[in-house]
Amino acid sequence: MIDQVPLTHILFLSTALFFIGAYGFLTRRNMITMLMSVELILNSVNINLVAFNRYLHPNIDGVIFTLFIIAIAAAEAAVAIAIIISLYRKINSIDPEQADELKY
């Protein structure tokens, strides 16, 4: 059954996923791939919540939190892509370093 895999292994998995996402967010120079990295980070948090719910807390609170995070991530991705497309129309590029109109 599930107790053959300890909880810490699932937490190692979500930690690795979080820092892979953070690495991608810091190094990418393209807004769409930065958005993908943010999705990875949000998913690592979801894995944590669901695993704690399964192993430590015999209730459904973690599942409900996960549902809310998924809904908010969907809204965030839609707004981010609308902003990216609008920015692409304006400056013809989605490199975040070229979007410096508010800087000066």
């Binding site: 059954m1 599930i2 107790d3 053959q4 895999v5 810490t8 292994h9 937490l11 998995l13 930690t15 690795a16 996923l17 820092f19 892979i20 996402g21 953070a22 690495y23 991608g24 810091l26 190094t27 120079r29 393209n30 769409i32 791939t33 993908m36 990295s37 999705e39 990875l40 998913n43 979801n46 894995i47 669901v50 695993a51 719910n53 399964r54 192993y55 430590l56 807390h57 015999p58 459904i60 609170d61 599942v63 409900i64 549902l67 998924i70 809904a71 908010i72 991530a73 969907a74 809204a75 991705a77 839609a78 707004v79 892509i81 609308a82 902003i83 497309i85 609008s86 692409y88 989605i94």
Partner: protein, 171 residues
Amino acid sequence: MTAYQIWFYIIASMILGGALLAVTARKIFRAAIALLVSLIGIAALYYWMHYEFIAAVQTIVYVGGIVVLIIFSIFLTHNPGHTIEEPVSIREAFAFTGCFAGFAFVFSLLNRYSFEQTGDGLNHTMQVADVGRALLSTGSGSYLLPFEAVSLLLLAAMVGCIVIAIKIRTK
């Protein structure tokens, strides 16, 4: 090693391999497909933990919604076969060092802490009816107000997206 453990490590390597490819691939379309693999792996992990409802929601919203949205926006803003710019090497070194140090720190903390299991956490089953009841009732342990707030947020996000991305036609 039992089949249960073997499945877990297969799923974990699928998630981490997909995520690594998604943040390092030089072709943006390949990065999107690797993200798809990673998200399907996460849905499989939920299924492995016997949360079939969350696995279905993950598949529908992420795989069917967000990845398709990302692929659409790639096709709207890139030529096919576009190669992403190399990251700035000094920034890449700093990001790698920082992320590796953070991972090592959290890893050592998790190794030192032993999680005590409470109740019959491993054997409880989740009925979808319980989720529905918790989302749509008032009182302790129920989430009616956040549910309504999320529905308002989704409406506001939808209207906001249309306002931001609409192309105003000038005569």
